[in-house]
């Protein structure tokens, strides 16, 4: 199935959890926040959240700034 | 909640200041509390001309060469408090009066005809005789004739102040009398006024209610005036920090013989009073400083331009006294008996403009 993540299309397998997806992207789940269709997902829920076709994910983290 | 340090501590802070500290306070753009201590110190007493010069320069810069004029209207001499220093004290035998609405309006009409635009309504503290309903009604009846109507009555609740604001009252004066708790307890023998903290928090409630102006003050002659000056400075700073929309004034009632024959507990001379006034002006350039007819003509004329911004004139301190000058029962003896015209003339002679109007309460809306 296809999802959108940070504006790019990704092909993921059925039954992929959010935690699993972050691991595939080599991201430390403690340093990013995930917005799924503009709703913030709580970090504790990453493991139990199954990705669904057509979802729009935004992965956000701190960067340098003044 | 504002807390005033112990007077012993304030006294030490003030008396430890040197001439050099005074010089520094005179030059600092913001002298702060430490600067105020220096300006109130015995060391500064010897430098009064320097204080006067600085105070005069700041006053001219902030207020221009103007003096605002007001007159008090005494509404009632009933009082439920026993304050050792006051002619209206409950245990003082005298003929008590509360003006009817018509009489009060008549007093205000007389002052309006004499040219006053700023009125201070004064009464003893007896809510049953003179309450919020009365004041609201009087304000509604007279607001269109006056630029401002302020009150000096018993402390009220925030809701009551808000109601009076909507009715047309523009400002409230609540003097702490003394900021020294021990002295406060000594001179307030009975009545609601015995509650130091309720009184101290009154200006907060006035400001919270949206009043344009709140006046504070200490009765001079009860305890160390230098410490009262520090406390006034602390109170001003507190109000400025928490209620920045509210204009602030300070009054300097100096005890003089009243019915009941209370003798001042300490002597505060004209030099002391002028030092206190100069110090507060230098400490807070924006504060309105009031000099009432308690003081004599010579002193009041001499002080024009040096710091005060507001003078009362032609005052009578007995209820009904404007319509009936023969009436007795005044709260205190007036030191300057001149009429408004005479006071205006002396202000003009000193190169200042006597201002009778700078706001219209008709612009005032509740919120």
């Amino acid at each position: 199935m296809k999802i959108i993540c940070n504006g790019t299309e990704y092909e993921v397998g059925q039954g992929t959890t959010l935690l699993h997806f972050l691991a595939q992207l080599q991201l430390d789940p403690d340093t990013v926040v995930v917005e799924c269709d503009t709703e913030i997902i709580r970090r504790e829920a990453y493991e139990g959240t199954l990705l669904a076709p057509g979802q729009n994910l935004e992965l956000i983290r701190f960067v340098g700034g003044g | 909640m504002l807390t005033i340090p112990d007077f012993q501590q304030l006294s030490e802070q003030v008396s430890s200041c040197s001439r050099a500290d005074v010089h520094q306070a005179l030059q600092a753009p913001h002298p702060g509390l430490q600067g105020l201590a220096a300006l109130l110190s015995p060391a500064a007493s010897a430098m009064l001309p320097e204080l006067a010069r600085r105070s005069a320069a700041i006053t001219a810069q902030r207020f221009g060469r103007t003096i605002q004029l007001y007159a008090p209207v005494y509404l009632s001499s009933f009082c439920t408090n026993r304050c050792a220093y006051c002619g209206f004290a409950a245990d003082n035998t005298m003929d008590r009066r509360v003006l009817t609405m018509a009489e009060a309006e008549k007093e205000m009409d007389i002052l309006h005809e004499r040219g006053f635009n700023h009125i201070l309504l004064v009464s003893g503290e007896a809510p049953a005789k003179m309450g919020v309903d009365y004041l609201a009604e009087l304000a509604r009846r007279t607001r269109d004739r006056f630029a401002s109507i302020t009150i000096e009555v018993q402390p009220l609740s925030t809701a009551e102040y808000a109601r009076l604001f909507v009715a047309g009252i523009t400002g409230v004066a609540v003097y702490q009398e003394t900021y020294d708790r021990r002295t406060y307890d000594q001179v307030h023998l009975s009545g609601k006024k015995c509650d130091y903290d309720f009184r101290l928090a009154s200006p907060d409630r006035v400001a919270q209610a949206g009043m344009r102006e709140v006046g504070i003050g200490a009765l001079l002659g009860l305890t160390d005036w230098r410490c009262e000056g520090m406390a006034l400075g602390l109170h001003l700073a507190w109000l400025r920090k928490h209620f920045w929309r509210t204009a602030l004034t300070v009054s300097f009632p100096r005890l003089c013989p009243a019915e009941g024959d209370f003798q001042p507990l300490t002597t505060v001379t004209e030099k002391d009073l002028s030092q206190l006034l100069f110090a507060l002006r230098i400490y807070d350039p924006d504060v309105g400083l009031l000099l009432s007819t308690r003081e004599e003509e010579r002193f009041r004329t001499g002080m024009i331009g040096l710091g005060p911004t507001r003078y009362s004139a032609g005052s009578c301190t007995a209820p009904g006294g404007y319509a009936h000058p023969e009436l007795e029962g005044e709260q205190f003896a007036v030191g300057d008996q001149r009429t408004l015209t005479e006071v205006c003339a002396s202000i003009q002679a000193k190169g200042h403009d006597p201002v009778r109007k700078d706001w219209d309460s008709t612009f005032q809306k509740g919120f």
Binding site: C5, N6, G7, T8, L25, Q26, L27, D28, T31, V32, V33, E35, I40, R42, R43, E58, L59, I60, R61, F62, V63, G64, G65, G66 | Q24, L26, Q27, A28, P29, H30, L48, P49, A52, R53, R54, A56, A57, R240, K241, H242, W244, T269, E270, K271, S274, R298, F299, T301, G302, L306
Partner: protein
Amino acid sequence: MLQIADKTFRSRLFGGTGKFASAQLMKEALAASGAEMITVALRRVDLTNPADDIMANLDRETYWFLPNTSGARNAEEAIRLANLARAVGNTNWLKLEITPDPRTLLPDPIETLKATELLVKDGFIVLPYMNADPILALRLQDVGAAAVMPLGSPIGTNQGVLTRFQVAIIIDQARVPVVVDAGLGAPSHAAAAMEMGADAVLVNTAIAVSGDPVRMARAFAQAVEAGRTAYEAGLGLQDNKAAASSPEVGLDFLR
């Protein structure tokens, strides 16, 4: 010690983390600055470079993170960023920046006041970036801002405290800490702000783009400390002409 909300800071220099040539340089410069509070921004993860993570480079025990809402053009966008920042950083602290004009990046006072009020109600510790408008500072304080951050001059201009007159009024009136932010281009600018009585300053560009960010960070730290000490010591008056030109006043009337 500087206190903001319920937290105290020894250092009165806040560091920005943007515009450094490398993460390593940023880390060293921040260490040299002695800053405890540092600002960070929020962006989409660069999925082509997933290891590029500022949080991996900076110890949360050493640095207090102050996420900003840079990029927000109105209250709504700022609030969205604030919620993301809270979720990423497990912090309710926020430097609120709302800059609708991409040319000057000057803060929008109306949106900033609106957002501050809403965010404070939602439990955020809000430090709004603002133009040096004394009444706005009081209004922000009244709706619960934990500190105010007036600009010295427009961000990135390195012009110093051009808003000196208004900043002085803000410092005089505010009951919350005043942090001068933006436009401080040289250590002397930071010292000047501190001498005026600012509680802290925030510096980013001037350190990050200097010839040697680590040494410049140290210079800023020294300047902030010098300025603060001078303020506490009490500066002498630089101009006493006002007193000298006033005529003598007669006090002969006093008895």
